[in-house]
């Protein structure tokens, strides 16, 4: 199968500081990949690169064969790349429903009428139905995270980038979030999910990759990756010699 997303030797530096060096990654349509890695490893930078908010300083990024490195964020979105932000970025002075409608109209190109219908469905699925007429800035954290997801899901992305949407949630809230994810993310949507909450990740993704020291150090089935010596070193420090 032709890959949906292909990163070939991508690097990114801000001024003299390199955050990303020679990263390569391919993703098939409908694949679900989790990304682990310590803070500051460049995980969110990777999303900013894929969603067009940042330009890579080196390497090549292809999405459905198009050069993603030169694509503007709104074009990346219109071609089907949806994302959430680690720190929720609501349109504060718009209502919850209006926030989702933006995704349907600008992102998916729906008419206002169609957008209202879809927003209604997505809000019901994400459990935000009762909040639809509230201003987004008045929502609590869990609901803001749901709104991030609702906005991105509303545009029916081919590739969905989830940035730590389970962070800061209780275990019960995590369960709810996973239920919502199963409902709103269609089976043919490819997903890359950055997450520290490993138990949430394992219930959703097919495989994981670990981003550390500016590179992807390992990728594979989740159990294998967690057993990997390099990963154990990164997460738990060097193992004591007995």
């Amino acid at each position: 199968m032709k890959p949906l997303l292909e990163l070939r030797g991508v690097s990114k530096a801000f001024g003299g500081i390199e955050v990303f060096n020679d990263v390569s990654l391919t993703l098939e349509p409908g694949a679900r990949l989790g990304i682990l890695g310590p803070n500051g490893a460049g995980k969110s930078t990777m999303f900013n690169l894929i969603s067009g908010l940042h330009r890579p300083t080196g390497g090549e990024m292809l999405y459905e064969g198009h050069n993603l490195g030169q694509m503007k964020p709104w074009n990346a979105c219109r071609r089907g790349i949806g994302r959430t932000f680690q720190i929720p970025q609501p349109f504060g002075d718009m209502t919850v429903a209006e926030n989702v409608i933006v995704g349907c109209t600008s992102g998916a190109g729906l008419s206002l009428h169609e957008a209202r219908d879809r927003a209604h469905d997505i809000l019901e699925m994400t459990g935000l139905g009762d909040h639809r007429d509230k201003l987004a800035k008045s929502l609590a954290l869990l609901d803001l995270k749901r709104l991030e997801l609702a906005k991105a899901a509303a545009m029916k992305p081919k590739l969905l980038l989830l940035d730590e949407i389970a962070g800061g949630l209780t275990e019960a809230e995590c369960d709810t979030l996973l239920d919502i994810l199963q409902k709103v993310v269609r089976r043919d949507t490819a997903v890359i999910w950055i997450e520290h909450v490993v138990h949430a990740l394992t219930r959703f993704v097919d495989e994981v990759a670990v981003l550390a020291d500016k590179q992807i150090v390992v990728r594979g089935q989740i159990d294998e990756v967690l057993e990997n010596a390099e990963v154990r070193r990164l997460y738990f420090g060097a193992e004591a010699e007995v």
Partner: protein, 330 residues
């Protein structure tokens, strides 16, 4: 819905208010004298300019302090089309709309390369350039300006009183059209993109909004109507001159005052602000420079005390009253 563009929750309210004011304002010339009508014509023109500035800055987050460039250019275009090209005065006035729209394209192309503060300063500098060019144009009276020919003015009414009436209706019609258009834009698909962009530009871009396209649309709409208003103003003043037609004070500084005092990002804001401004001007202008100091102090005070302007103060007061009433009933 608290996120509405008027102060109140209902979306039907703006249209009801608009309808009511049409019913009152349209027959008014039959009951009041010429002086009052001239006064109201002035009010409608500045109110329209304030609405358009609010469309850019309040709704779109595009802060330009050079919008007087379009008012002036529209006035000069009207003069040139009628006097030099000999076109029909009504046609000339209508043509100032596409003229303003076309003119705003290169201006936006230059300004859109600049970020917030530079955009604002750049727009001011461009407006100054426009004014200087207008003063050098052959056939426009140089620095001291030139009067419209009587036959052009008379096309809008043979007698003074019929002219005053016609210009009154014209400026009121433009105001209604501008407000109606803004309501229409805000409730269109573009309106959603616009509000999203204003609230959070990065998130909006990631959700498919092209901020430059949205800003360009706002700029073109406001440029077109400002140019038309410049033509009406020229008809009202009977002449063009660089410092008056391109007046930074009249068409930008006072306008910003009105929008800030009245309430940015709400249709009712510039209406409140313009009425208040005209009242203050009438009552304080006898005091000379003190009047400007009072206006400035009022604007700064409002920005510090309630950046949402009077519109938000009124909204809050209403909420408080409703709550007290609820408590009393309970």
């Amino acid at each position: 819905m608290t996120g509405d563009i008027m102060t109140s929750g209902s979306q039907k309210l703006p249209l009801a208010v608009l309808g009511l004011s049409v019913a009152v304002m349209v027959p008014l010339p039959f009951f009041v004298d010429n002086g009052t009508m001239r006064y109201l014509t002035d009010l409608f023109i500045i109110m329209s300019v304030a609405q358009l500035w609010n469309l850019l800055a309040g709704f779109g987050g595009v802060v330009s302090i050079g919008q007087h460039a379009f008012v002036g250019a529209g006035g000069y275009a009207f003069f040139g089309l009628t006097t030099h090209l000999g076109l029909n005065p009504f046609l000339s006035m209508a043509l100032t709309l596409p003229f303003g729209a076309l003119l705003s394209l290169p201006v936006f192309a230059i300004l859109s390369r600049m970020r917030v503060a530079y955009f604002a300063i750049g727009s001011w500098v461009l407006a100054e350039v426009f004014m200087l060019v207008a003063g050098k144009l052959p056939g426009f009276g140089g620095g001291s300006g030139i009067s419209l020919r009587p036959q052009i003015v008379k096309a809008f009414g043979a007698s003074t009183s019929s002219r005053v009436e016609n210009i009154y209706w014209l400026s009121f019609a433009i105001l209604v059209l501008v407000i109606f258009l803004i309501i229409l834009v805000m409730h269109s698909r573009r309106g959603y993109s616009l509000r999203a962009m204003r609230d959070n530009e990065t998130a909006a871009m990631a959700l498919g909004v092209n901020p430059n396209a949205v800003k360009a649309m706002l700029f073109v709409v406001s440029g077109a109507f400002l140019s038309l208003l410049g033509a009406v103003n020229t008809l009202q003043k009977l002449r063009v001159n660089p410092s008056g037609s391109f007046s930074l004070t009249d068409w930008t500084v006072f306008i910003i005052f009105m929008v800030v005092i009245g309430g940015m990002g709400r249709i009712i804001g510039p209406i409140i602000g313009a009425v208040l401004f005209v009242l203050l001007r009438e009552n304080l202008s006898g005091y000379g420079p003190i009047y400007m100091i009072i206006l400035g102090a009022a604007a700064i005070g409002m920005m510090l005390f309630e950046p949402g302007g009077i519109a938000v103060l009124v909204q809050r007061w209403k909420l408080k009253k409703a709550k007290t009433q609820e408590l009393e009933e309970a």
